[in-house]
Amino acid sequence: MSTRHQFEYVGTRPIRHDGMDKVTGRAAFGADFSLPGMLYGAVLRSPHAHARIVSIDTTAAEALPGVKAVVTGRDIAKTNKKVYLGGEGALDLADMGDNALAHEKALYHGHAIAAVAASSLEIAQEAARLIRVDFEVLEPAMTLERALAKDAPILHPEMTTGGKPLEHMTGPTNIAARMEIKRGDVEAGFAEADLVVEHEFRTPMVHQGYIEPHATVARAGADGRIVVWTTTQAPFLVRDACAGILHLDAANIRVIPSEIGGGFGGKIPVYLEPLAIVLSKKSGRPVKMVMDRDEVFRATGPTSGCHITMKLGAKRDGTLVAASASMWYEAGAYKGSPFGAAAMCALACYNIPNFFVESHDVVLNKPKVAAYRAPGSPMATFATESLVDEIARRLKIDPIELRLKNAVASGDHAPYGPKYGPIGLKQVLEAAQAHPHWSAPLKPNQGRGVACGFWFNAGMNSSATVSVDSDGSATVVTGNPDIGGMRAAQALMVSEELGIPVERVRPVVADTDTAGYTDLTAGSRVCYATGMAVINAAEDAREQLRLRAAKVWKLEPDQVVWEHGEARSLIAGDDRQPMTLATIASTLAKTGGPIIGRASVNAPMAGPAFSANICDLEVDPDTGCSKVVRYTTVQDAGRAVHPSFVEGQMQGGASQGIGWALNEEYVFNAKGAMENAGFLDYRMPVASDLPMIDTVIVEVANPSHPYGVRGVGEVPIVPPLAAVANAMRGATGVRFGQLPMSPPRVLAELEARKEEPAVALSSGS
């Protein structure tokens, strides 16, 4: 398709349609919803990180006045169904269901064992405390080392290593899968290198940190119809997953998404929904369940901690000639870390003729990991970009020049196989190089780091309708919860196609009964794939308008053209006045009936995104405390439909990456319980931690999309871990392979260095 480059509405910055609701407190999020006669649900969670559930006695709980239903794993038979998400392989509903409510084993501290519905939350919580569980406590595996040891506690006795296991990977194991990608001859590659650098990297388990806890209201009717109001990134997934887990007919389940207070991947799986449904069925009343912050940390889906050893080889002139990596990703209690994406992304920015990357999915007694913004890529990129920085330092080559020298471009092969189409990595790096930040002077104790990164950007299924209303306005309906401003972007697309002002477009997020099937809000896919469906639906509506004008004028279709919001006759010398959309709309009932444009797509995964970040870090040598004093992010967005929201994604992802690099981590005690399950000690960046975050949007059009749009939501979190670590290297001389680079760790390293022969502390790049 040919890409459009001239726009009237796309690229402007209208106020979002749901903005008034959001700044006045009117917008209804998950916990804001209530129904008459509603019960409140509470969950009993495992106090052990690893235990066999021998028996559960719910008699005392059920006898408590006010308790209307109690459910345990006994009430939900296991399933072997899968939901084909379209990404990351089929979602295993047996795992998701067992995670939502344990059957034979408790596999992490906080694992749901039972749920209660009662007339008040206090009674439900009291009842949960009265449930007697007989556990056979087992030793937990809380580290990769323990999970991989010869005498490791085995979480799933039936587990075998999938993908490409090595010969010795047989017998009881915690390795769920292994994969490899390779090219050329890595031994020969390293042999011809003039410089080889190698390092070990460890990143901790971290949480997406959305401010809104999970919340659900379920109402199961006596007629078998179930309605679920829930805060989710994926209403159709909630429907299909609950149907599979609970052995119900998806046709009888309606999922209505609330406004969503952040997700970043963590609100893709179901946690409370199946419990609320079963409690509602058992009690005959609607049931509301809301997690508290403690539960969100302990019992939802953080992302993997990991261990990566990586080696890079380069020629003296900076050409990368060889790479090898061994990656081990924590899956948590069930298989499914982003180990595959990690392997595919690690070297995605560079043309390296010889490489070997192996990656492993390892289960251990931590919460089952969920997606977190470009899952797998930030950690892998932390490793690669730290080593590229080392090479630049040792060869005394400018870090951006070195990256440009090796950067992939259109026609190059991605490390996971296919050729890249038009991509913008070089343009992004050049824009970073040209930015005043790159050449600004540094002060004492400051260091500058640069890093780049990659994400695929998903496609998948989306549906949209655009209906023309009799007052000349239009309504666009899609099925993607709006986390970051997509309704405004969709309205801009409809404006562009129909030629009407964006205030005259009503963007609506519908539910699983009222929207056509649509895949999740994630994967950086909504502006691209759902946007494609919206544009196609608007084109369909426009075509119907054009034909309606032709019909009214009694002209042939090819004698009428649609331009700038009106139909015009092409007959030479014709004195007919153009018919505006408003005019046609006002007479629809008399000229043939309503006009509804519709479209659906299963978009390919095409249009990957690259980002580069520059970070200036100031480190206090007396406390180890560091502060980001300047930050710039550059990203290829293909086409920025609403630039303010593209900038917002860039700034938000950078901020999460900074937190991941400097402070955030799950701290587990010896018994496997998280010690910092609250916002005080799980330390995310606050306003006083950060400077303004400068953004530069580069636009290299994606030919797979009519406007050239590339997904923008995820790649922002990919470069910051290394950008901050490289800045730390510049400020302190210390190459940190372990995150977070929190003050105690930095201070310990600085103190240790005082004992050693002096290493030249550089104060800049």
Partner: protein
């Protein structure tokens, strides 16, 4: 064993209107606002006073309503997000949040707007640093705070111009 606890009757003023509600002795003002009075604009993010999503003004003072007992509202004046706009007119902070696109998911927005109004009431012309430290008690995971701070600084400038 759960025993009967008599509920406390509270007479208070919320957003300039007299309001009465019943609450338990241990119930937070956040819970009372949302569940007894039906004002769900104030949000629960953590219930430990660490995220600021529950920010309200109590007798004009910025507090996390999750750490205030509902009974403490007796005889006092409470301002929530629902009371920030006056007579249908948005407060400059609300208007600037919309202009700057200083919200993405919007869950932290009510808390930020209440906190920012309190900032400008206390410090009409804050520096960027003063604004960042005042708002350090409000967590946002979506925006990285850039557009929020710009919105607050512009609201301050706009208010300054109006009062000159």
């Amino acid at each position: 064993m759960v025993t009967e606890v008599s509920r406390i009757h509270v007479d208070t003023t919320i957003n300039s209107e007299p309001v009465e509600f019943l609450c338990d002795g241990s119930q937070s003002l956040l819970s009372a606002l949302r569940d007894e009075v039906g004002l769900t604009g104030t949000k629960e993010g953590c219930s430990t006073g660490d995220c600021g999503a529950c920010s309200i003004l109590l007798d004009g003072r910025l507090v996390p309503s999750c750490l205030v007992l509902a009974a403490e509202a007796q005889g006092r004046s409470v301002t929530t997000i629902e009371g920030i706009a006056q007579d249908g007119h948005l407060h400059p902070v609300q208007q600037q949040f919309l202009q700057h696109a200083a919200l993405q998911c919007g869950i932290c927005t009510p808390g930020f707007i209440v906190a920012a109004k309190a900032l400008l009431d206390a410090i009409p012309n804050p520096t960027e640093t003063e604004a960042r430290y005042w708002l350090a008690g409000n967590l946002c995971r979506c925006t990285g705070y850039d557009k929020i701070i710009r919105a607050v600084m512009d609201a301050a400038a706009e208010t300054q111009k109006a009062t000159v």
